[in-house]
C-alpha cells in the first residue's frame, strides 16, 4: 500500500466544479421566498364567519389561544361574540385549531416573519391585528379535511307507508352505540345553552353520554327540566339551530340525545333511583297551580322538591295540557306522559283532575287557601280562519281535532282533507288525518321555507304522503246542497319583499283555484281563555293583547299570582319556554315567601 493515495486526494478536488453554481438555499434578508400554498404560518380569522365557539382554544395543546370579548362584534344568536387571540410565543403552528374549526373561519397564512422587541406584541387577535393577511391565506380546512364530525348519526324511523297505518311512535330512538357516536360530535361550545329558554346544561349531559355515564346525564337533565322525556321527543329545539356544527354540517342531535338519556330509565322507580330527588322538609307554605301543562308541572315539581305543599287543578281528565291533548301520540305516546306524571306524583305533587277552575272550584278559593298561585293555562281557543262559510259542518280547528283524537274520540274527516296553516299544529293535524286514510293537502300562504313548523315534521309529513301547496291563500269555503263542506277556494300568492320583515304574500288576481275536500282543518293559532278569572283579579293581573304580563320571576300585577306558559308574554309558544316559565316562577315564589 502506497503511503500517498493520490486518487483519494485528487477526487475531492472535483468539488471545485461546483463553484459559481447557485445554491437552492437563500440568503435572508437579501432574498425572499414565498411560502407554499399549504404553509402553516401566522393565523388569520374571518371575523364574520367565526361564531366564537372556542373549539380552537380547547384543542390547542399549548394553551396559546384564549377567547376574548370584542366589543365591535355584533351580537347575534349562535355567536358568543368572543374571538380567538393567539399568543404567538406559545403557538407551535400545528394547525389543529384550523382543522377543528367548525366554521372554517380560522386559517393559517403565508406570513411567517414577525419581529418585535416587546414580548407583549406576540399576543394578537387574528383578523383584527393582521387584516391585510386576508389575501395570504394558505392552510385552511374544508368539510372533507376538517376533523370536526359534520354528519349526524341518522335516526331510525318507521317507513312512511308503515307509520300511516297506526299511531305507533315514528322515531325509534338511538341505540347505545349510535348515541355515543352522536354525543362524541359535540364540541361543548355551549352556544346552545344561551338560546335554550330553560338554559339546560346541554354540553354537560351530552358529555356524560359520550363518556358512557348515562345516569349522570339523566341527573344533569333533571336538574332544571322535570319533563325531559317530553322534550326529548317533541322539543322545538332552538338549540340545534345555533349548533356550531350546523354552520357547515348537521347540528348535533341534542333532542335525540336527551331522548336517549331518558330511555335509559324506563320506569318511574328507575327514574327515582337514578335522579335521587332530594325533597326538603315541608316549609309550611302551600301553592295552588291552575293547569297541569308543562309550565304548571315544572313549577309543581321544583316547588315540591323545596318542601312546598303543591296542588294542581286540571280541567281535563289527564295531566299534560297541550303535550297530552295537542301532540299526536305517534310523536309522544301516552305511556311517556303517564310515566312523567307518576314520577311527579311520587315526589308529592297533588293533581286534582276534572276540576275546572271557575266551575268546579272558584279561583277565589284557590287564591285564599294558598300562599301563592301559579297560572299555567295555555292557549285553548283557536283563532278563526277568517273566511266565508267558516261555520259550515266539516270545518274544524286543528286543536279541537287533535283533542278529540287524543281523548280516544272519533271524528270522521272523510276522504280528502285540506289543512290551513304552516305551523307544527297544522302538520300534526295533517299527519293525524293521514293516519285515518285521508288524502291530505296543506295550504300555506308563504313558501315552504317560511313554514314555522319543524323541518323534520314537514319532511315526515311529506314521507307520509301529505301534499303541501305553498303560497296559497284560502278565500272561502265551498258548501254542498246540505250546507256541508265541499271544498276550499284559494288564490295563489307572490312573495313581495318588504322593509324590515319577511316577504309578504300578495294574492295574484284571477288565480282562484278550488280544492275539493270533505274536511277543512284550520290551524292558524290559538288564544288564551280568561273567562274563569273573576273581574277583580283580572284588573290586578294585567292582560295585554291576550297575554298575561309578568316580570322576570314570572310575577303578575298581583304579588301572589305567578304565571307562565303560552299564555304569558315570555318566549315562544312552546313547551320548553313553558318549562322555563315554571322554573323561574319557582324562584319568584321562593323570593316572595321565603325571601330567598
Amino acid at each position: 500500500m502506497s503511503f500517498i493515495d493520490l486518487k483519494g486526494i485528487l477526487q475531492p478536488l472535483g468539488a471545485l466544479k461546483q463553484l459559481g453554481k447557485k445554491p437552492h438555499t437563500i440568503q435572508f434578508p437579501a432574498e425572499s421566498i414565498e411560502a407554499s400554498d399549504n404553509y402553516r404560518g401566522l393565523h388569520f380569522n374571518d371575523l364574520d364567519d367565526c361564531i366564537g365557539c372556542g373549539n380552537c382554544s380547547t384543542i390547542c395543546p399549548n394553551e396559546a389561544i384564549d377567547m376574548i370579548d370584542l366589543l365591535n362584534i355584533k351580537e347575534k344568536k349562535g355567536d358568543s361574540s368572543l374571538r380567538p387571540r393567539i399568543d404567538n410565543g406559545r403557538c407551535c403552528w400545528c394547525a389543529l385549531c384550523v382543522d377543528v374549526c367548525p366554521t372554517g373561519s380560522l386559517s393559517l397564512t403565508k406570513d411567517y416573519i414577525f419581529v418585535t422587541e416587546d414580548p407583549n406584541d406576540f399576543l394578537w387577535t387574528p383578523g383584527i391585528d393582521n387584516k391585510d393577511a386576508a389575501d395570504k391565506i394558505s392552510y385552511t380546512s374544508d368539510v372533507s379535511t376538517s376533523i370536526s364530525m359534520y354528519d349526524r348519526v341518522p335516526m331510525r324511523e318507521l317507513e312512511g307507508k308503515e307509520r300511516v297505518k297506526s299511531f305507533a311512535e315514528v322515531v325509534l330512538g338511538y341505540s347505545e352505540e349510535e348515541a355515543r357516536a352522536e354525543a362524541q360530535r359535540c364540541i361543548s361550545c355551549g352556544l346552545c345553552v344561551e338560546v335554550c329558554p330553560e338554559n339546560m346544561h346541554i354540553p354537560e349531559y351530552i358529555n356524560a353520554i359520550a363518556q358512557a355515564k348515562d345516569k349522570d346525564a339523566l341527573r344533569i337533565i333533571y336538574d332544571n327540566n322535570p319533563l325531559p322525556e317530553m322534550c326529548g321527543k317533541v322539543c322545538t329545539r332552538l338549540c340545534e339551530d345555533v349548533c356550531a356544527m350546523q354552520v357547515r354540517g348537521d347540528a348535533v342531535a341534542i333532542r335525540w340525545l336527551k331522548r336517549y338519556a331518558t330511555e335509559t330509565a324506563p320506569t318511574v322507580e328507575l327514574i327515582k333511583e337514578i335522579v335521587d330527588p332530594q325533597i326538603e322538609e315541608p316549609n309550611g307554605f302551600s301553592v295552588g297551580i291552575v293547569g297541569a301543562g308543562p309550565a304548571g308541572l315544572t313549577a309543581a315539581y321544583y316547588l315540591a322538591l323545596k318542601g312546598y305543599d303543591v296542588t294542581i287543578y286540571e280541567a281535563q281528565a289527564h295531566a299534560g295540557g297541550m303535550i297530552m291533548y295537542g301532540i299526536p301520540k305517534y310523536r309522544f305516546p301516552l305511556e311517556s306522559i303517564d310515566k312523567q306524571i307518576q314520577y311527579m306524583e311520587s315526589i308529592g305533587v297533588k293533581i286534582k283532575y276534572n276540576t275546572k277552575v271557575g266551575k268546579d272550584i272558584s279561583f277565589k278559593e284557590i287564591y285564599n287557601n294558598n300562599d301563592a298561585v301559579f297560572v299555567g293555562i295555555g292557549l285553548q281557543i283557536p283563532w278563526n280562519i277568517g273566511i266565508k262559510n267558516e261555520d259550515s259542518p266539516g270545518v274544524i280547528p286543528a286543536i279541537d281535532y287533535l283533542t278529540i283524537i287524543n281523548s280516544d274520540g272519533k271524528f270522521d274527516v272523510g276522504k280528502k282533507v285540506a289543512v290551513i296553516g304552516g305551523g307544527n299544529v297544522a302538520i300534526d293535524g295533517a299527519r293525524v288525518a293521514a293516519r285515518y286514510g285521508a288524502d291530505v293537502t296543506i295550504l300555506y300562504r308563504r313558501r315552504v321555507e317560511d313554514m314555522p313548523a319543524d323541518w323534520e315534521e314537514i319532511e315526515g309529513a311529506e314521507h307520509e304522503g301529505v301534499k303541501i301547496v305553498p303560497q296559497a291563500i284560502p278565500t272561502k269555503i265551498i258548501r254542498n246542497k246540505e250546507g256541508k263542506v265541499k271544498g276550499v277556494e284559494y288564490v295563489m300568492a307572490k312573495m313581495v319583499a318588504q322593509d324590515g320583515g319577511r316577504p309578504r304574500p300578495v294574492a295574484i288576481e284571477g288565480s282562484e283555484t278550488i280544492y275539493e275536500c270533505d274536511t277543512v282543518i284550520g290551524a292558524i293559532g290559538q288564544q288564551a281563555d280568561f273567562d274563569w278569572l273573576p273581574e277583580n283579579y283580572k284588573e290586578k293581573v294585567i292582560i295585554e293583547r291576550g297575554k298575561i304580563q309578568v316580570n322576570n320571576l314570572r310575577q303578575t300585577g298581583d304579588n301572589k299570582i305567578f304565571a307562565g306558559g303560552d299564555a304569558v308574554k315570555f318566549g315562544n309558544s312552546d313547551a320548553i319556554s313553558a318549562i322555563a316559565d315554571g322554573f323561574n316562577a319557582v324562584k319568584g315564589i321562593d323570593k316572595l315567601l321565603l325571601n330567598k
Binding site: 483519494g8 399549504n38 384543542i59 395543546p61 389543529l96 364530525m149 359520550a210
Partner: protein, 368 residues
C-alpha cells in the same frame, strides 16, 4: 516512554460535535480515552408526561420534537400503536403516503448525517451541500404538510392531507436530482482519503456483542447482521415494495457509512415504487371529535424502522380521552449511553463526536 497522568475531561453538554445537549465525562491519558461516562438530562422536557395530560391527537405536537432530525418516525409509530388500540383501519392510499413520507424523512435525515459525519472529520463542504439540498425535501414537506421540519402529518387513521399529482411529479424530479447528487457527496466522502483514514477501524462495535448490547439500525447492519423492521415485520405497505437491506462487515465507522450510502439509494427506489403503486381512495379514516375521542382500554406496542434503527412506542389507554402512558424506546438510548460507554475506551478524543455521529446518537430522544 513518558507515562502520562490520567486527567478528567468534560465533552459537552455544549459541543458542536454532539447533536443536542449531552455530556461525556472522560478519563484520558494523553489523548486516549480510558473511561467514558455519559451524563444526560440537559434536554429533559418531560414529553412523555406532557402527552398524558393532552388528548390523543394533541400528542403529535410533542412527538415530532422527540428528535429533530427525524420527527416522522415518532408520529408514525405512535399512530400505529393508537390504531392498534382503537382497531382503526388505515386506507391503503394513506399507507403508501406514509411510506413516502417515511422515506423522504429518511433521506433528509441521511443528508443531515452526511453533514454531521463529514463535519466532525473537518470536511465542511459536504455538509453545506447536503444541508442545502435537504431544502428540496423540506420544500416537498412544506407543500404536502404545511410545515418544513415538524410535520404533524401522520396521525391515527391515516394522514392529514391528500397528495396531489403535481406533488408526486415534484417528488420524482427531486429523487432524480438527489440520485445524481449522491455521486458528488460520495466523491467528497468515500473517495476522500481523509475520510477513509479517519473512518476505517475506528469506533468498532464488536459483532459478537452487537445483539447483546441492543444495537439496532445501521450500526447493527454495519456488523453484517441483516436486521430491519421493514423486512422482518413489515408494516404499512413495505411488504409490497421491492428493496434491499444493505449490510457491511467490520462494525466500524466506515462500515456504517457504507450501509447508509446504500440505504440512501434504496430509499429513493422505495419512493419511486410507492408513487407508482399508490392507489386512489381515501387518505384518512376520520377519528371522532378529538376532544371526546375515547380509545379503548388496553396496551399496545408498535415498532418501526427509524433512520437510526428500530423505534418502538408503548402506549397504554385506560379508556379515557387521554393516553394513560406513552413510552418511547428508540436507538438513541442504547447507542448514546450503553454502546458509547463501552466502545469509547481506547479511542482518540478527536474521534468521539465522529463516533457519536456514526452511531446516530440523538440526545433529545434519550430524554423524551
Amino acid at each position: 516512554m513518558i507515562r502520562e497522568k490520567e486527567t478528567t475531561l468534560y465533552l459537552g453538554p455544549q459541543h458542536p460535535g454532539i447533536t443536542g445537549n449531552m455530556m461525556v465525562k472522560l478519563k484520558v491519558q494523553g489523548d486516549t480515552v480510558v473511561k467514558a461516562t455519559t451524563h444526560v438530562g440537559y434536554l429533559h422536557r418531560a414529553f412523555e408526561k406532557l402527552i398524558e395530560q393532552r388528548n390523543w391527537l394533541n400528542a403529535f405536537t410533542l412527538l415530532c420534537r422527540f428528535c429533530v432530525p427525524e420527527p416522522d418516525p415518532m408520529e408514525l409509530t405512535y399512530a400505529r400503536a393508537v390504531e392498534e388500540l382503537d382497531n382503526r383501519e388505515v386506507p391503503e392510499r394513506a399507507q403508501y403516503i406514509r411510506v413516502i413520507v417515511m422515506e423522504l424523512a429518511r433521506l433528509q435525515s441521511f443528508m443531515l448525517w452526511y453533514a454531521g459525519q463529514a463535519g466532525s472529520a473537518g470536511l465542511y463542504t459536504l455538509g453545506q451541500w447536503s444541508v442545502g439540498d435537504r431544502n428540496y425535501i423540506l420544500d416537498l414537506f412544506e407543500e404536502l404538510t404545511g410545515g418544513r421540519i415538524y410535520h404533524m402529518y401522520i396521525w391515527p387513521g391515516g394522514v392529514r392531507r391528500d397528495v396531489t399529482d403535481t406533488w408526486k411529479d415534484k417528488v420524482l424530479k427531486t429523487m432524480d436530482y438527489l440520485e445524481k447528487r449522491q455521486d458528488d457527496y460520495n466523491q467528497l466522502m468515500f473517495d476522500n482519503t481523509i475520510f477513509q483514514k479517519r473512518a476505517k477501524g475506528v469506533g468498532i462495535v464488536p459483532k459478537d456483542k452487537a445483539i447483546e448490547w441492543g444495537v439496532v439500525g445501521p450500526p447493527l447492519r454495519g456488523v453484517g447482521i441483516k436486521s430491519d423492521v421493514r423486512i422482518d415485520e413489515p408494516y404499512e405497505v413495505y411488504d409490497k415494495l421491492d428493496f434491499e437491506v444493505p449490510t457491511a462487515e467490520g462494525g466500524d465507522i466506515w462500515a456504517r457509512a457504507l450501509v447508509r450510502k446504500e440505504e440512501f439509494r434504496q430509499s429513493i427506489s422505495i419512493i419511486r415504487q410507492a408513487i407508482e403503486k399508490m392507489p386512489k381512495g381515501d387518505y384518512y379514516n376520520k377519528v371522532p371529535n378529538p376532544m371526546k375521542w375515547v380509545v379503548p382500554e388496553g396496551q399496545a406496542w408498535a415498532k418501526t424502522e427509524s433512520v437510526r434503527g428500530e423505534i418502538g412506542f408503548y402506549v397504554v389507554s385506560n379508556g379515557t380521552n387521554k393516553p394513560y402512558r406513552v413510552h418511547a424506546k428508540g436507538a438513541a438510548y442504547t447507542h448514546g449511553v450503553t454502546v458509547l460507554e463501552k466502545i469509547l475506551p481506547g479511542q482518540n478524543i478527536a474521534d468521539i463526536s465522529f463516533i457519536m455521529n456514526s452511531l446516530g446518537v440523538c440526545p433529545p430522544e434519550i430524554e423524551r
